[in-house]
Subunit: 305 residues, 2 copies
């Protein structure tokens, strides 16, 4: 990964769709994932193996895996898992990379997963050990890494401890998640700089929501700190069903445009990305659509895109 | 001005209202200006002295000045003027600070003001000379300082030349305007760093639109370069009647929340600012409202504002 290469993981088919009123069919989910891949997005989180009662939109994620495998799909895919049962389901479905969630607050751990921070750590360590044997990659995402809706601002030492522990334990990536979109750029800059200085940027990522119009400001702050991996969501789909006040993820549409303008290499074709964004809006009926699209499809596109 | 002090100029009553379908009454305009001032915003652009045929929403700006003077209003106010006639009207109305527009492209100068870049410079120099005698402050705002909808990306040397010339000529401030919201953070960082290194930050400001979700990212980039003066617009009102594709200014609601969270001193009371934002939305029926409000008025306000 060069300094000008930025790796986007589109989490819309998971973090986005789980928060929409409308539940998409397996065929629609597959079509959306294919459209995102066709635009050159290098990694896509295509679903989760959680209780279908708790998150009905993510039921049948194994069928999404199967459908993509049958179609010869080659873009790296991720699945979110909450626990060992989820890991086993993901492995059985053919997942090569799984995302586990760690918590930087007890309040969020309880509300989101009905466990303690320590229990989430223990489960993730168990899964990491198994995954090494299975040749499955593990991404550890630290929820509420900046601020928690229940416990308030997160102390940086809680996050740095988790990052140290899970990078040492062999996590392939650790992602700092601003779960509810409450981080501000100075906070991002300070925490990311500390972490990049200690660990380098190769295995660190950030996941921002745009709840308060600071999404891309936080991305820029992280970029300035050396971070080169970001989660984002096609058409700005997103939120969190268990985090009050969270709105959509940073739109892949918008982050891709900003990175391209700043001279970073994302491998993404903006025109094709807008087609994927259109599809997300069509399927869900409620995706906000990002801001880049109006711009790219408007009268200014030729002159100043 | 200390390093932690940031001066916001709310341009909503001018840059915002001139772009709304609905034309506000003089009484509504005065009430909005008062509400913004009551929230502690230190400077407000309350109107312009332009042709009422071209910009009907700005007719009777002299009555807004008179109404505020009669009410003993003390917050510094600004008026935009396009030419010497506008200057004379502004001075007659009692304006203590006027904003003149310079152009960083010939295309925008022609479309917006039917003059050349050089003509706009000459007029501004004439007004500067007169204003010195009259003890009136002059802000020179450089339109399309980053990108022009007609001529494409702006060469930085065009902007640095204008900044040098007008600071030397005695302009009280020079503001870099991203008129259509097409700047990206690296561009902002590079240009602002160059200018702050040459001139210091005291008399420099930035004016961003949030057309492509990069508004606050650009503000953060400018802050990092040392800039401490920003234009923004209550409730995200804005646009430009002569610049295709321009959407609202950065919302004062959002920039004030970000700056407060980052530890800057703006003097703004966020709760009162939301009342001003509510009023802007009520009067116009179309102000987007910023993103901070949903947050501050939502269930998370107590925990993580």
């Amino acid at each position: 990964m060069t300094e000008r290469r930025v790796v986007i993981t589109d989490v819309g088919p998971r973090d986005g769709l789980q928060n929409q009123q409308k539940i998409l069919s397996v065929e629609e989910r597959i079509a959306l994932v294919k459209a995102i891949a066709a635009a050159g997005v290098p990694q896509i989180e295509i679903g989760s193996f959680v209780s279908p009662k708790a998150v009905p939109a993510m039921a049948a994620t194994e069928e999404v895996f199967a459908g993509l495998a049958n179609a010869g799909f080659t873009t790296p895919t991720l699945a979110l898992i909450p626990n060992m049962k989820g890991y086993e389901l993901a492995r059985a479905a053919g997942a090569k990379t799984v995302t586990m969630v760690l918590y930087a607050s007890e309040g969020m751990a309880q509300e989101n997963a009905a466990m303690s921070m320590a229990e989430a750590e223990a489960i993730t360590l168990d899964i990491l050990a198994l995954a090494k044997q299975d040749n499955v990659d593990v991404i550890a995402t630290i929820a509420v890494a900046f601020t928690c809706p229940f416990d308030g601002p997160t102390e940086p030492f809680i996050v740095t401890r988790l990052v140290n522990k899970f990078l040492q334990a062999g996590a392939d990536q650790v992602v700092l998640a601003d779960t509810i979109g409450a981080a501000h750029p100075q906070q991002v800059r300070d925490l990311c700089t500390t972490l990049v200085n200690s660990h380098g940027a190769e295995r660190l990522g950030c996941h921002f929501h745009d709840t308060r119009a600071m999404g891309l400001a936080n991305v820029y702050a992280a970029l300035e700190s050396g971070i080169r991996r970001f989660d984002s969501s096609i058409a700005g789909l997103g939120g969190c069903p268990f985090a009050p006040g969270a709105s959509g993820n940073v739109a892949t549409d918008d982050i891709a445009m900003m990175l391209q303008q700043m001279g970073f290499d994302t491998g993404i074709d903006l025109k094709k990305l807008m087609q994927a964004s259109d599809l997300a809006q069509k399927f869900t009926g409620s995706a906000p659509g990002g801001r880049a699209k109006a711009w790219l499809q408007g009268s200014l596109a030729k002159q100043v895109s």
